[in-house]
Structures are given as C-alpha cells and as structure tokens.
Symmetry: C2
Subunit: 874 residues, 2 copies
C-alpha cells in the first residue's frame, strides 16, 4: 500500500496544516463548514520533500495520484480537462505550513490551449474573456514554470497598445487578445525552442514542479530565515477549480479582513475590483475599491460574504484575511487565514476577542507573536511630523527606535553637547569600547561601517539606543559627513529610524513608548500565567529604571567593565594595567573603589530589594588601553613613562585569539586584588543602601568564564573573605550569593562539580555559542553568508539558540548542576535571553529566569508566559 | 566508631599502598615477610587529606590515634618516649602512593632532649654518638618543622672547625658536639623566640604536620605535575624506631639496587658508609664505598643483605632499591621499592626477568613506563665524543634528540647548505610557517624566543627534529649569533641536545636510534597484547618511512597545508588566495594539482596498502600570505597588483580570533573548488600508485572542523562527485572513505547526526581542548603559569587529555556516533595521541586507533598494549 500524497478538499480539515499547508487545510475546513469553495485537491508537503530527496524529480507515484484526483475533480465538477464542451480549468498555488505571502509561485487558468479557449469562449459566450484568460495563462506559465523573462511579455502588450493608440488594458478587444496570444506563443517558442504545451495534464505536472522548486527560491529562503521557518517543512500545492472574476461586470475579485489590520477596529476592511482576476488587485494597475462599495454594487454577494466572515471569525476565533471571487453574481471563497496585523491592532483584537467572549485570556496571550511587541517598546516618530521627513540614506536597522538630534563626530563632542542639554546623533566610521560614554549620551548612533553584530549595533541594542549601522550612504570628508551626497556639519540636525534603517534630513518629533491601555491589560494576563522570572541586563541606574517600567524582576547582568570606560575612571584603570607589581595595582584599584561603589549604590537604589547580579571584570585588559598614538603619548605623560614603554606593555598584552585568552575569571586568578576591590565595592554599596533606605539589598556576585570548579573556588575564597570582613565591620546583616556564568563547554561537562561551589548558574550563551561552534562572532560574518546561501545553515545561532548543539550543552549543565544541588537557581544573561524561541526552549530545559536588555523585557515576559501556557510546570 | 588513620606495620601489607603510601605498604610487607625491619606505624594519606580539609590542622582524632600507636610501639620495642633508661627514638618520613624521591621532608633522631641525650650516651656508652645525633635532630627539626634557614647551622659548624683548626666532621669530639648542641639551641631560640621543644610527643606531632605540609611545597607540586600525580592523593607519614649506623665502626648505612640501574646487569649495585647516618650517604661530604667492600668489612651482615635482596626481588618480581642500616653488626632493612632505572636497563631487566621465569611477558610489558622509551627513539650523542663537549648555553628542551651541524640563519640558507650535502642547525629569533621547508632540512633548530608550545617547538616535535627553544643565552648582532657570549658566524659548528636543552660548541658525533635486541623483543610482546591500532601523523614520505620503522600501521593525519608552504608552490597558493573570482582560483589550483598529486604518490608508495588519512586544507588563508613588506612587494610584482592592493587583501583576511574564524571545512564551503582540487589529487595519486605497484591503495579523506552535519554533507557531495568521475575515467576500482575530524564541541553534541554521513571520526583533541576550555593555545601560556602556581590546575590539558571535561566530550561523541553506526571507526590525531595516560583513557572510551608523530609510535604501541592487558576488550 503506497503512501497518500494527494487529498481532495473534502478528505481533510483544518487539522491537516502540517501535511497540507495552511492554505490547503483551511480550504478543507471551509469546505467542511459548507462555505462556497471551488473544489480541488492538495498535493502534500511530504510530496515536496520527496521531490527534493529525489534530486528534484516529482515521483511517478505522486504523478499517478494527481491523475486520479483530477479524475475525481472532473466527477465533482462535471467538467473535464481539455474538454471542448465543458472544460475544467484550475489554479495551482503554493501553501506552506506557515504563511509566506508572495514568496512562492502561482499559476492561474491552467487547462487552456488553442482548442479549449474556443470552447470556453463559446460556453461563456465571452470571447474576450476567454482569450484574456488564455494570454494570462501563457504569461504566468512562461514566467513561473519555464523561467522565461516576463519583461518581454509586457513589451509586447505595450507595443500593441501603441499600435492601437490605447492606454488601458480594458480597451483591448477580443481580437486584440487573440493576436496577443499568438504573439506570446511566438515569443515562447523563440525563447524556449519548444511550442507552448497543449496537454492540460502536462501543464499541471510542470506547474506543480515549479511550485515545489519555488520553495527554495532566494526570497523564500530569506523569508524563512527571518521568520524561523525550517527548510524541512516543504510546501504543499493546491489545485483548485478556476472561478472567474473577469467574465463581466457581474464578476469581481477581492481581499478582505474581518477587522482593520492597522488599528484592530471591528469592521470589515478590504478592497475589490470588478471584472478582474486576483492578480490585478495586487498588481496595482487599476485602483481597487473599498469593500463598502461592494455592498452597493452587488448587495447579495456582499451580504453573503459578511455572513461568511462572521462564520469564519467565530470558527477560527481570530481575525481572518480572506480572498474571494464573484462569478456572475455568485460568491466563492478562495482562501482564509489569520490576518497579519500591526502590533497595536494585535493587542486591540486580542483584548476585544476576550471581551466578546470568543477566546479566553490564555488564548489571547498565545495569539500574539512576542517579537511583534518590539515595535511598541521604542521611541517612534510622531506620525504627523514624519510626513514631512525626507529620506537621505539607509543603512542596517541595527537597533530599533527613532531619534532626532544634532550631529557630533566623537564621544567627547557628544558629552560637550549633551552637557549643554542638547540632543545628539553620534555619527562615526565605526565605534569602539572607548566611545561607550558618548554612545550612552546620544539619542541615536549612525555608523558607516559594521554589520548587525558590530560594536555599535550590539552596544546600542543593549542600551536600547536607536542605531543605523554600516550605511554605505555615509562618507567623511573635510570635517563633514556626506549622507547620500548632502554635506552636514557638526551641529546640523538629522533623524534616524533604527527599525527601518532610514536616515532623514532635519528634525522629526519622536514619542516615548509606554505600556498602557490594551497593552497593559494584555501583559497583566501574560504575567498571571508566566512561571519563569524575567530580569534585565543593565549597567546604569537609567537602564535599570527603564527595565523596571517594562516589568523586570531583577538584574541578571551588570557588566562592570562598561563602567570602567567612563572618562573619570579610565585613567585609573589604565594605571592598574600598567602597574609593574601588585602594590602599583592596588594603588590604582584604591582610586577605582569609591567610584565603583557609587555605581552600585545608584543601581541598588533603583532596584531596592530585587536581586542584582554583578559580573566581575570580564574582557581582556588590552581593551582598556588606547589604540591611537596620541592617546598613548598622553598616557605615557600621565604615567611618567616613555611612549616606547607604553607600546611595549600594549604589545605584551597582544593575544592571537583574545576571545580565548586572558579574560574573565582568569584575570581574577592572576590579579586577585581586582576581585577584592570589586567585592568591597559590591558589599559596601549594599550595606550603605540597606542602611539609607532601611531595606534588604540582594547582591549576587557572578564570576565569568569558569571552566573548572577550582577557578571558582579560588576566587570565591577571596570574595567570601573580603565580604565577611566588610559585613562584620558594618555590624549589619547582608545576604549575598556567589555564582558563576556557564559559558565554557567544559563547564557544562563538569557542572556537577561546579554546582558544589556555586549558588547559581547563569548561562552566557553568546560565548557558549562561540566556543560550542568554534565561531568568533566578530569574524563569522565572513563565512556565515556563504552558509546561508548554500543552505548549510538556516538560522543565525547568535540570534536564536542552537537547540541541538549549544542547547544540549545547556541541558546537560542544568541536569548535572541539579544532580548536585536540586534547587540550583539557573538563568541566562546572554543576548539569546530576549529571543522568544530561545526562551521557550530554556523554559523547557527548566531555567528559573531569563535576563535581557530592558527593551526586550516585555517580549521575554510574553514569550515566557506562552511557554507556561503551552506546557505548565508543576 | 571513628575512622582508623594510623596502622602499625604489623597491621598492614603491600596492598595498602593507596592508604599508607609506597614506603608504608612496603615496610608492612617486609615485616610480614619476616625481614628485620625496625618497627613503627604509618599515618594514612586520608589523615593528610583531612589535614588539608581542616585548614591545615592535624585533627584531634589523628593526634589521639598517634598517641595510642606510640604506646603500642613502646610495648613492642620495650623502649619509652622520653625515658631516661631506655629511650625510644624515631624517624619521621613521608611516603606517597607514587615514589617522589627527595621531594618531601624527613626528621631523624626524634625523641631527644637535654635529658634523653644523657640517657642515650649512658646506654650506648657513646657520648660522642649521642650528642652528634642530638645536634643532627635539632638541625633537621629546625629546618623541616620550623622552616628556620639551615644555612646558619652550617656556619656554626664551620666556625667550630675553624676554631679547632680541623677539616673533617670525624675529628669533632663528644665535647665539641655538646658545645655544638648548645650553640644550635641558642640560634634556634634567637631565631624562633622559643626554646627547642623538649617533649617528644610534641616534637612528633610537629614533625608529622611538617611532612603533611611538605606535600604542597613548590618542588613537590612541580614533581607531581611533571609525573601526572594528583594532589588529591596526599602523603602518608611513617614513624619508625630509630636504628643507628653512626654508633661506631661496627655500624654502617647504605643504599643498594638488586641490579644495575644504568645497564640492567644482574649484580648487586650500591654504596655504603661506615659509622654514618643515611643523610650522610646522600649529602656527599664523605665518599661512600661500593657494596663489594661491605662483603669484606661486615661479611655476615652482607650475606644477610644479599639473602634479603633475593627474597625481595623474588617477592616483588622486580628490581628493588633498598635502604639499610647496620647497628652493631646487626642488619636492618629501612625501605624497599622498585628501583628507578634507565630506559636501556628497564628493557634488559624486563627481558631478563621473563627469561628467569620471574614474570610473564604480560607483566614485563606492564613494567615499563611508556614515556621512558622516548630516550631511545631519537638520535643521541656518541658517549665518547660527548666527553669533550663544551656547554655554551641552555634553553628549553623543546624537542628531544641530539644534532650537530653548521649554523644557518634563514630557511633559504638551510636549503642552500643542505643542497651541498651539509648538515645545518637553523638558528633564529623565532620561526614561522614560512620556515617549514628550512626546518625540515635542518638537523636541529635553536630559537631565542618561544616556549614549549611555540611554532618551532610544535613543528620540530612533529618532525622529530631536535629543538632547543627560547634560549636567553642566544642574541643576534652584526650578522652573527652570540651564544653565552661566544660569537658564531654562519657556517660555524654547534651541537644541540633537545632532550636536555643544552647547546654545545663545535661538532659532536651523533648516533641514530633503532629498535633491536631487548627493545625489539619487548615491543613484540607488547604488540601481541595490543588491541588498539597505532598510526602516525606524517606529511612527507620521509616521516612516513620513519614511522613504519617504528611500527606505524597507517597514517592518521596528513596536514596537506604543510605541503603548501614549500617554495615551488607557495606562489600558486598565494595566487589562489588573491584571485578575484572562482575562475582565478581555479587557474591557480590547476597549478597546484599535479604538485599535490605527486606529494600523495610519494606517501602512498611508502605506505602501500596501509590506510592513509588526508586532511583537507585547514588553516585560515592569511597564514599563507607574506608578513614582510618586501615579500608583499615581490608578490605584488608577480601578480601585477599594487602593493596597496596586496595590503588590502591581507587586511581583509585579518580576523580578531583566527582560531575561531574562516578555516577548516568553512573554507571548503566558501571555495568548494579547493576541495575539488584536493580530491582530484588524492584520487588520481591513488589510482596511479595502484597501477604502478599493482596494489590496493586506501585513502581516507578527512574533513576538518565540522560542527554540523550539513557542513560535512556539503563537502562530501563535492568529494564524492569528483572522486566518482576520476575513478570512472580510470577504469580501475578504488576504495576510499570520507570521514570527519571531531574537534568542535557542537560536533560531539550532534555526533549521532554527523555519523550518518561520516565513514569515520578522528578526534582533533588539540582544537577540542581549545574550544572546550575556551583557551587559545598560543595565548594560554600567559595565565596557565598562574594557574599552576596557585594550584588551580595541576596538569597541562594540551599534554594530557582533560578526562572529565574534554574526555567527556569525546566519550559522548563516540557513544552518539556509534548509536547511529555501531561499527563507526574512531581514532585520534591530536598531539594527545602520543601521551600514554591519554592513550589509556581513549582505549577505555573505545577508540579504534591513535595517531601520533613518528617518534611517539613505539610509546603509543606500548601504552596501548598496557591498556589492553589491564582491561582486555572482548
């Protein structure tokens, strides 16, 4: 017994989505609901996969099942393929498990040839319609199936208009279309060296093959990558009896939503064209009419459509996006699916559906893609103000949000302007760690170089600052910046949209994001079901405040080194690095201690009793040293050293692979006095804020880059000794814990041993991905593009956790860790902590919390809530 | 019921080695055999660990058990601690599970004080002996227990000699020693601010504490690291009744071996001193006499000792190293252990013991430490010739063996000299990949910079070429090299010993290693029991030949890139890298193809039908480009490019972390034409050699750095297509396989999936260690020294595999791989493949073969044989 690859619409239902794709399953479901659906059948996604397994050949078995189903369709419709009395024409459309609008191919009017077109003209008594349909079919088939450049067909149409001195397709007569068919066939023959195929079944198999092939066209591959859709899913193919919206003025075709997809308003929203085929609505040659007018032109069909809308929305419990055709006043439903909508609309619809009693709060929470919230969390341009905006260039949409301000070229200038209360946009070739303070003071950042993972992009996303990176429209000359050819001086205004990558001339007003109204209601429902905590990564009181507003329940990561780059402390940091011995280092550390202590006090004062995780110094020391000769000279003067000596120290710190070098806990083992200073700062700050606010502060000390429990033990001994001394001296009580990041593969393998000494684990999945793959994030861009192009990788493992590899390491570490300490607290503080798919995975693995940048906190809350609703923890 | 920490010698036996250390277990065993052993007890290694767990305090429980055992010892001996009639004196000695000669501390004559010394003098009727013993005790106790600088005691002795105008200790009278005791006690008081302790039990506990503490002294820690001894073992402490070799001329003390430890000759070998304590034999103040003379001086004691030797050798079935003391003509055995011996002696003894019927062949195979064979495998200096050698400097013993030749300063000079048939020593500041060819042509390599893992050291070890690296005695000036202050010109002769790190002036004759005689017999026995195959890493026919001589059973790794550096091909390699498109690359690859093919033919001709594993291009491309401006200019001229363009290409290939960058399989995915060329070369060469020699060649194609099965699939498709084309075109048959290196942690996690596409796995444990630890091998030297010093790490994970971390990754990969393919062939080709402890681990994990550099093949054969004998596979 062979496998079933082809299903009549009447043989399936909405539950067949995996096998028959979204469109196929919904056509079957609508059939079941008794809605007027032109009948047909669906070739399954398994047949698509078989096609690829089979070196891109449709197997004989699938061909045979298609033939059998065409016969069944002929029986159902009473029409016959190639018949000269009552010919069957069909459409052939793709339909994957997830909606991929416009990414794959479609063929309409299939079944026509020189004889059938005559029969169709006779049967419909509409020769013009018949030949118009035929020429459309030739055009689509040539383009989609034979990959013949479609431009030439447009040239022929234009020539014929010119010859006849007409402007609009509507002016073509039946005779004109007849001639057009001839000219099209000539061109086809000339280009393809074969006549246009006349056998409808051959046409059909060729078209099915073309749809399968289109699953791997460039834009489909790209769309899948962006939307986390696996290549292994494949597409189904829907073969459906044609109905015609282009047979006359009692015909129409259109697209409509049950609610407004931009605002969420509960009102039918859409457009249609009289006497047209579906492609015309999309093509934009004629201007479609709003749905309201259909009520006037074809009231009966409109009323029936309205009824169908109610049935479908009630049935699917979600806003629907439908295609329909009216043939001689009779309505046909061609497609329904849950409609795409803006974030605001999504929230309103979800909240409305609950109050209408259509869905529960849980269902509402599941209905929104967490990523969609991102659009609501950043400052955005005032709509009115944006209308006058002039785009002068584009770059990568590196960090979302909108910003407007005066151009500055250095971090120093950013500080000067900002001290005067001015808003600035930092415009640079690229940024480096020394620019941190200037970046933090800027409204937005624009760079000429660097990708989505460049320093500017990563830091800006972390700060929630708008950033457009790697814009090839930006060049520097004569102390000016040229953007798209326009010269700008320091102090001139520009505006950036980090969500779209657009650069605008002049000032555009922006509005802050807030969580209120439907958004607030919705997040409350989400939080009621959420079982995993959501913390934030924050290095400043400002970040911490923003994260609290967005619902953070603690800090999962303070990168203490970010504090080291600010102007008032970088000098002491450099003195520490250049010190010749421990005594010299201690002297410099004594300068840093009160500064770092006051940093922590600022953050504790915001977070109050919520847990605050402080990561100890992590990056290699050379990152703190100057890279420019004049800066080196300044440092030499400061330190009473020669330039040559400074250069020698810098050279001695050079590493071949700094990512795998002297950093993280390795620094604390070589220089335990650094860990001592940081412990004093963490503990003294906590004691001071406890006393001042009369609360209990909860610092969590986190040691980075541990691969062996001995490393943790060595530093923990130092930390505990210093902490005990400070606490005893204060006469207060203080709860602090000492844990470790898990970001080295070896740490995962030996997590049972590490857990014996760690109060908590926090997964650093950025580094774990780097070491787990052996990929340097700074360098991988060089070859990952080749990987995507050649289908070796589908996903960027730095964006979504690689479940089967890096995820397996995380899983092993959690299991081993809890085999030693059953209640070991486990979290994540890598950038993956803000990715919804990753959050779902980490929930399944058993993590207690995720931590992400402030602007991702609401997204993480929703993703965590969805994970819990899908699979509640006991 | 409390734990037992202290055992009388009569309560234990030889099987207690883990608990009581080697010395303690052997004292118990000798007691059991009825040999004349002064009685005593052993404080266990568990007590030592308890001491460390307990913040370096001996626990009350242990103190109490020591007290009880002193009472038992008093009963056995009839003597009493501090007694004024018959005082008990004891020695306190360390004794770990593995022998660590001289690394830890000893205290003799314990129990003496101002009263007891009088009693001892009276009882022995020998005042001089009694006070000599007392001053020795004060001296040792002060040094070992109180860490008082011992130099001052020697100063006092010298002063007293000067005052008395005598030269030899033997001339001191009893009165002199009495005065010496007073002066010693004064110095002790003055330095320590407390009087010398008078209570024997206090003396004992302090001494036991000192021995525990000495387990972690610097030299013990270093010795453990070098000899793979875990810190967790701890040391035991042996407390034994004193017997005295210094009571008069009918007393003696000595050390002897049952066979000659230098040659293996079956004849008692050792030395002794009359009227002395054990320390005098070692101290070298008096010249000891050979054992033969003891037969004349004390014939009865000698005869008894000879009998005891026979008993012990028969009992332990191995050559023994014993300490003895003769007190008033009565012989006492103080220690026995298996004796250290040279590699040659070890082989002779093992083979002799088998022919004497004392041990089986299996036992003989287990008796030799595989690492010891290394001394026999490299060229060594002719002993006669070496006697005239003058050492002019030292460096790191980076690659073993001896070499002599004329100094050259560049790879080019090495080639020129070598073309004239001259032997050369390449002397450089440091080496780089471009020097490969010159290094291969040199007898030895000497560098001024770079450690044990520098380029020179790693490459030289791989080639089996002698290398002394990082010698601070070497400087360059005025076109000369200065070694230890002597100037040498190009063409002058020097000699190197890479086993000791010594640099000699002039020529010294060398001798090649060969496996013959006892060595050959022994290796035959080893091979009979071995179940794991041993292959070699070899890049040239010369290496392959050497490895075959040493018993290699195939090649586990050809690094094809090493072939790319030679002068006749580096130009084409650079042209390939600089090519602007695939066409340009293919043109350059066409030049490389016949060269690479002939490389492989040379190797196949040596290896015949043995398997030959070829790894495809692995390093990042920038490694092939010039680093010096003048070379860049030459390249620019060759390529008709500007210098600026060349620099731009080099800059574009720069990576922040090249170890995690565009290398390995990633190159083949970006540039599949490289894999195509290499496949053609591998397959065409195999077909040509098959035909020429009428044999079946067995190439194994190995894809490096795979982390995801898709990477392997992509390249395997290319390889299989090209291979099939070549094979079909030849009309021959050819067996080839395609496998992968496993060196990325993610590959281990997903080995089940990778195994589906791989014919074999070969573990690249160098890189797996780098990624698994997040350590760059080039940079880790910067901080690993701190790790060793602070006790964070005990072992270098690049030398011996880290079993619990990296080893766990290997284990998981083998298990997952074989869950998909039960008979999956698994091997290793990292440097760990030549490390005996690693080989044992990999055998337990189930690997089919190890591959190592030619000079390590016999070591690996022996280690693999021992693993099989210990735990035979079914």
């Amino acid at each position: 017994m062979s496998r079933k690859y082809v299903y009549l619409f009447s043989e399936a239902d909405g539950s067949f989505k995996e096998l028959l794709g979204g469109k196929g399953a919904n056509l079957a479901e609508m059939t079941k609901l008794g809605l007027p659906v032109p009948q047909g059948f669906t070739v399954s996604t398994e047949a698509c996969n078989l096609y690829y397994d089979n070196h891109e050949q449709v197997s004989d078995e699938v061909v045979e099942q298609v033939r059998q189903n065409i016969e069944k369709l002929e029986e159902i419709t009473g029409k016959k393929f190639g018949d000269l009395d009552n010919p069957l024409l069909v459409s052939v459309r793709s339909g994957a498990r997830a909606s991929m609008p416009g990414m794959m191919d479609t063929v309409l009017n299939l079944g026509l040839n020189d004889d059938v077109v005559v029969a169709l003209a006779k049967k419909t008594n509409n020769e013009r319609f018949a030949y118009d349909s035929y020429r459309r079919f030739i055009q689509m088939f040539a383009d989609v199936v034979m990959e013949i450049p479609k431009h030439q067909f447009e040239v022929i149409i234009d020539e014929m208009k010119h010859e006849r001195d007409i402007k609009d397709d509507a002016e073509f007569t039946a005779e004109d279309y007849k001639e057009m068919v001839e000219r099209f066939k000539d061109y086809y023959l000339q280009h393809h060296h074969e006549s246009f195929p006349t056998d409808p079944f051959d046409q059909l198999i060729a078209s099915i093959t073309a749809v399968f092939r289109s699953w791997n066209n460039d834009r489909a591959v790209y769309y899948r990558r962006i939307n986390d859709i696996p290549a292994a899913w494949g597409t189904a193919v829907n073969v459906q009896e044609m109905v015609f919206g282009n047979m006359g003025d009692d015909c129409a075709t259109g697209v409509a939503f049950t609610r407004n997809p931009a605002t969420g308003e509960k009102k039918l929203f859409g457009e249609f064209l009289v006497n047209a085929q579906g492609e015309d609505v999309v093509a934009g040659i004629r201007t479609p009419l709003p749905m309201e007018q259909l009520a006037e032109i074809m009231p009966e069909a409109y009323a029936e459509f309205q009824r169908n809308c109610d049935i479908l929305e009630y049935h699917y419990k979600d806003m629907q996006d439908m295609e329909f055709t009216i043939e001689n006043n009779k309505l046909y439903m061609l497609q329904t699916r849950s409609g795409k909508r803006t974030a605001n609309a999504a929230l309103k619809i979800a909240v409305d559906l609950v109050s209408e009693g259509l869905i529960t709060e849980k269902e509402a929470v599941l209905q929104i893609n967490p990523k969609q919230l991102d659009a609501l969390l950043h400052p955005h341009f005032n709509e009115q103000s944006l209308k006058d905006g002039k785009v002068i260039g584009t770059g990568l949409a590196a960090s979302p949000g909108a910003a407007s301000g005066q151009i500055v070229f250095t971090a120093q200038e950013a500080k000067e302007y900002s001290d005067l209360g001015k808003k600035v946009i930092l415009v640079r070739l690229e940024t480096s760690p020394e620019d941190i303070e200037g970046m933090a003071l800027s409204q937005g950042i624009l760079t000429a170089r660097g990708g989505m993972t460049s320093h500017a992009a990563v830091v800006a996303r972390g700060m929630g600052t708008c950033c457009v990176s790697g814009s090839s429209d930006v060049t520097f000359r004569d102390g000016k910046v040229f953007i798209g050819g326009h010269a700008y001086n320091r102090g001139d205004y520009i505006s950036l949209d980090g969500t779209t990558g657009k650069i605008y001339d002049g000032q555009i007003a922006t509005e802050e994001a807030s969580i209120s109204g439907d958004f607030e209601t919705f997040m409350k429902w989400a939080d009621e079901h959420r079982q995993m905590k959501v913390r934030t990564n924050a290095d400043t009181p400002k970040d911490a405040k923003k994260a609290l507003e967005f619902g953070a329940e603690g800090i999962g990561l303070i990168r203490t080194e970010h504090m080291f780059f600010e102007a008032d402390r970088i000098k002491a940091v450099r003195e520490m690095i250049l010190a010749r011995d421990e005594e010299g280092r201690r002297k410099a550390l004594d300068v840093l201690l009160p500064i770092q202590q006051s940093d922590f006090e600022g953050i504790y004062e915001v977070m109050k009793e919520l847990p605050v995780t402080v990561r100890y110094l992590d990056p290699p020391l050379h990152e703190f040293l100057p890279t420019q000769e004049h800066e080196m000279q300044e440092l030499a003067d400061d330190m009473s050293m020669t330039l040559a000596e400074i250069k020698e120290v810098i050279a001695s710190l050079h590493e071949f692979n700094p990512m795998m070098g002297h950093r993280g806990v390795r620094l604390s083992i070589s220089y335990p006095e650094i860990a001592e200073m940081q412990t004093k700062a963490v503990i003294r700050a906590a004691l001071a804020v406890q006393k001042r606010l009369n609360i209990s502060v909860n610092p969590e000390i986190m040691i980075p880059l541990v691969g062996n429990v001995n490393e943790l033990n060595y530093v923990k001994t130092v930390v505990d000794r210093v902490a005990q001394e400070e606490i005893e001296a204060s006469g207060q009580e203080l709860n602090y814990t000492v844990g470790t990041m898990i970001e080295i593969p070896r740490a995962c393998m030996t997590a049972d041993k590490i857990a014996a000494s760690a109060d908590f684990f926090s997964f650093g999945t950025n580094d774990l991905t780097q070491y787990g793959f052996g990929f340097s994030r700074d360098d991988a861009g060089n070859f990952l593009n080749d990987y995507y192009e050649k289908g070796v990788f589908e996903q960027d493992p730095f964006v979504r956790i690689d479940e089967e590899g890096v995820g397996e390491l995380v899983k092993i570490a959690v299991e081993k860790g809890r085999s030693t300490k059953p209640n070991l607290k486990c979290g994540i503080c890598g950038e993956h902590g803000g990715d919804p798919a990753t959050i779902n995975f980490l929930y399944e693995v058993g993590l207690d919390y995720v931590s992400c940048s402030p602007y991702r906190v609401p997204i993480a809350r929703l993703a965590a809530a969805q994970a819990s609703i899908r699979n509640p923890r006991k």
